[in-house]
Symmetry: C2
DNA sequence: TTTGACAAACCGACCGGTCGGTATGTAGGT
DNA sequence: ACCTACATACCGACCGGTCGGTTTGTCAAA
């Protein structure tokens, strides 16, 4: 019996450390940004040493990229969890917005994705790695908007892609503004304000069959 | 009788230097952010020396704050220049958006205002200095929206303040996204997309007297 | 079952360079 | 002479990164 199973608790020690490093990095990058969070900060923040860091990641930049990818996955998880097939598209959009607000309120590290995206994106070399992050959201939202059009809740004469692009950008801006004016306290209020105004324009008028609000 | 007037050409040499430093700082802060632009970068970027910098500004932070304030004034100038009393409010909003797009396209340093606002705003101590920047825009836009309501072009049942808050946040997000996905090339397209969708919701329906679109 | 070879995981001292900041010097106008 | 407006030299702390060494876990031969 080459036992097989056993290997638990030992072989994945490295994975655990890697995970820990990623979590700490996400928090610090979210708080201080890429340039603002020094390697020493990261080392001190975890209980580890430089050697451990550089064993798992070849450079600070690579660590940031890995952190970015890791946290992006969490965002995708959070958002896809609210998708119930029975839900109407317009309700799903609202639920998604609520979910990301919850996420931002409970996890300080949530903001690291957008911060890293924009700070690292300054370097044109890294853009191909970063921009898909935005595309994913834009495409996801666009597809839901199109479904909303099929369901008759969203006007047919609006460009689903444009709605998606605007929504993503607005969310990012709302997040930034809320952070600086209130430390994130009024994030939810501002986000709901946006959704309300957006829906004012794209929703079909009650009682109509869809295809323009007048 | 202490001469007074004459002093031209000599006394304002310092002002010129200060101006030059501010311009260089604006460009570098816009490109690299506060933490990313080192003092040495700033010194090297201008043809000057550290001594000159520290004569005019007591610290890097003070320089950043001064740069922020200086560039913010330019934004106010750019926007207020498009305001003609004869213009209808809705047209003025569109003109303002066009003006800020132009500004961002021609002046790379334009972005330093928002970057500094958010990066320095991380420090709660500086928020009281920074947040008025956002309030100014929100209040300016809100007042124009209210005028649009008086003129019957904007629905009475929308909250002008909310429209303003959303617009400012959306603009900031649009600017960020456009920078990272295209280096700013599609800023105008994305900005117009936003205005279109916004207007879809807040504008009164043609032929109606104003006060709700249905 | 012990043992020993080997690799993965981690440590921490150390590197050259750069950070923001200061102290001192000095040219030139008034 | 004195003050403004710079230049220069220098500081300690810290930057991201390297490296030789130690520990920890894996597996196979004895």
């Amino acid at each position: 019996m080459p036992s097989r199973a056993s290997s638990a608790g030992a072989l994945d020690r490295g994975d655990q450390t890697r995970r820990h490093i990623l979590d700490v990095a996400a928090r610090l990058f979210a708080e201080k940004g890429y340039a603002g969070a020094s390697f020493s900060d990261l080392v001190a923040g975890s209980g580890l040493t430089k050697g451990a860091f550089y064993f798992h990641f070849p450079s600070k930049e690579a660590l940031a990229l890995a952190t970015f990818a890791d946290q992006q996955e969490r965002w995708v998880d959070v958002v896809s969890r609210v998708a119930e097939p029975s839900m109407k598209a317009v309700d799903q959009l609202a639920a998604m917005l609520k979910a990301v607000c919850d996420f931002c309120e409970t996890e300080v590290s949530a903001r690291c994705v957008s911060r890293l995206c924009f700070e690292l994106g300054e370097e044109p070399r890294l853009r191909p790695t970063l921009t898909p992050y935005l595309s994913i959201w834009e495409e996801l939202i666009a597809s839901i908007v199109r479904r909303g059009q099929d369901e008759g809740d969203i006007r047919d004469d609006v460009d689903a892609g444009a709605v998606a692009r605007v929504s993503v950008a607005a969310w990012i801006g709302v997040n930034d503004v809320a952070t600086v004016v209130s430390g994130g306290a009024d994030l939810r209020a501002r986000a709901e304000e946006f959704l309300e105004i957006l829906m004012l324009g794209v929703r079909t008028v009650d009682g109509e069959t869809g295809g323009g609000s007048r």
